[in-house]
């Protein structure tokens, strides 16, 4: 009955590979987000989708491509992984863009 879930929890991969992280929310929220948390715990927004439409796209390399098949899912695909992509990635959702955001448990990505 987890509200915001992500898979996988851990992802270890080689440089140059392509990987995806999945996110699902069962809260009935309209807006979903992806955040990156670096080794110093700093959280920065990457993308935001409202009803499957992209509304926020921060300065993120175009190797990162979010995809929202429906408003309950927002997946993150990363091409040509680099060492600097190693971080914890969090998915979040909110009722709308100006309401409290609820976070998933995170996916720790390690690029070797």
């Amino acid at each position: 009955d987890t509200a915001v879930s992500q898979t996988p929890k851990y992802l270890v991969t080689q440089m140059g590979n392509d990987k995806s992280i999945k996110c699902e929310q069962n809260l009935g929220h309209d807006t979903m987000y992806w955040y990156k948390q670096d080794s110093k715990k700093f959280l920065k927004i990457m993308f935001s989708y409202n009803n499957k439409e992209l509304i926020i796209n921060e300065t993120v390399p175009n190797r990162f491509s979010p995809k929202s098949p429906d408003k309950a899912h927002l997946n993150l695909h990363i091409n040509s992984l680099e060492l600097g992509d190693s971080a914890v990635y969090f998915c979040a959702s909110s009722q709308d863009a100006r309401r409290t955001q609820y976070f998933g448990p995170g996916t720790r990505l390690t690029v070797l």
Binding site: K41, F42, I45, A97, T100, Q101, F103, P105, G106
Partner: protein, 111 residues
């Protein structure tokens, strides 16, 4: 510009004491502020929020104070317990809907 900052990276308190975690923000147009708690290996968890038309809001053992004049936000935790040990983030929601996080304060509770 967009920035939210916390005054101290680490705060160490004795169990049972009160904790105060501070935060400064720079965007005077923000009208909604949130405190999150992040335990090791978990995602940020909502604690309490406050709108800019308020200067104080209380929850269970937590109080958030907002001083718009000096753009300062604080989180007070009463009777701090070991389970309160975590990283605490303040965050502001801009009028664009973007959530900006501060850098986080690590709260350590000594038994």
């Amino acid at each position: 510009g967009e920035s939210v900052g916390l005054h101290l990276p680490t705060l160490s308190v004795q169990e049972g004491d009160n904790s105060i975690i501070n935060c400064a923000y720079s965007n005077s147009a923000s009208d909604y502020f949130i405190w999150y708690k992040q335990e090791s290996g978990k995602g940020p968890q909502f604690i309490i929020d406050i709108r800019s038309n308020m200067d104080k809001r209380q929850g269970q053992r937590v109080t958030v104070l907002l001083n718009k004049t000096v753009k300062h936000l604080s989180l007070q935790i009463a009777a701090t317990q070991p389970g309160d040990s975590a990283v605490y983030f303040c965050a502001e929601i801009l009028n664009t809907g973007k959530l900006i996080f501060g850098q986080g304060t690590t709260l350590q509770v000594k038994p």
